[in-house]
Symmetry: C2
Subunit: 211 residues, 2 copies
């Protein structure tokens, strides 16, 4: 099927396409799309070919048709519900950022152990006590989660989420989660990425990374 890299780039293309659509630009060339992923025109053409989307040599690709195609691939028709675990600074940043941003991806429940946060609303999203994680996630048919808790709690949280039926996890905790094969985990390890940036800033390497 489609590789991780291709999916990443399609997500970026869609972001640019949406902006172009707002500017009423009808068509786009592969080299224009290439900029947003720091890629090449050939790569864009290959990505779109993989999803069987075709353009014309004269005009390029039709913007809104392409958005529709990417939507069909990336979005679940009925949307996907997300649980956010951990309402510290990071958790609040995430809930604030995603509020109303991607209609097909909605944070429907937040969880924290802090009783001063429990039962309050954060950007329209209710905070539940952490010990109701599994039951609430199960009831609401949540299938995605963002883990923004300290490292020590992450595995425990992941276990509860998976028991509740969660299939994908965005994990900010700097620990390698042990999960069954059918669960997809995307780690975001800020410390590691900062250390890498520090290294390449010194070594003068000119490569760049998208993650």
């Amino acid at each position: 099927m489609l590789s991780e890299h291709t999916i990443e780039r399609l997500s970026l293309y869609r972001r640019l396409l949406t902006k172009l659509q707002q500017q009423n630009q009808l068509y786009v060339y592969s080299h224009e799309l290439a900029a947003i992923s720091h890629g090449t025109a050939a790569q864009v053409r290959r990505d779109l070919m993989l999803m069987s989307f075709t353009g014309s040599p004269a005009k390029g690709y039709h913007v809104s048709d392409l958005i529709e195609s990417i939507d069909r691939l990336l979005d679940a028709p009925d949307g996907q519900k997300i649980a956010l675990v951990g309402l510290g600074n990071l958790g609040r940043a995430i809930i604030a950022y995603f509020h109303g941003r991607r209609p097909k991806l909605t944070i429907v429940a937040a969880f924290d152990t802090d009783t001063s946060k429990v039962n309050r609303l954060f950007y329209g999203c209710r905070c539940y006590p952490a010990d109701q994680l599994q039951s609430v996630a199960e009831e609401q048919h949540i299938n995605l989660a963002v883990i923004a808790v300290p490292a020590e709690e992450a595995q425990h949280v992941a276990d509860a989420l998976i028991a509740a039926g969660v299939m994908g996890i965005l994990n900010f905790a700097p620990v390698p989660l042990r999960v069954p094969q059918h669960v997809y985990v995307q780690d975001i390890d800020v410390t590691m990425l900062l250390e890498k940036t520090a290294y390449f800033a010194r070594s003068g390497d000119q490569r760049r990374s998208k993650s």
Copy 2:
């Protein structure tokens, strides 16, 4: 030189090694280190070989020697100074998290446009007005930066940082920064990664990612 993937894994190995050292474990086998990067023992051996670090078939690798070796590679002898631009929820999460965590990587200055934040201390780090970004970064010989501002401001911020001599940027803003070749940019695009997680959660793909 060493690839990005290798540097990423060395950072993770060091994290595990530090924990083992605290537990007074003297030696470690490659297959133990492999777990933290979701990698294989062969990969660990190859990574360590690339940095000319050797172990013994009987005991494995010497924990504190290996930490020292990785330190020598990843850390600048005198440390590196970091500027944090943007003190919203995300910025505060970052400054709180890194406070006292990695001695060789210190956030020495924060910047924000919000006058209610300016001149206050955040975890011992002073917040300067955003328009002093270039002058302060230059004076303090800052060579790394974390960008945690809205997308529209990110390019402007990056330009000022680079003019001040910054060589590496950890960029949370969802825009492709245009930078000169000698500057290393590590993007952390949470929206894109969440969309990818949503896709693979549905498609049942069992791969996993470290970023």
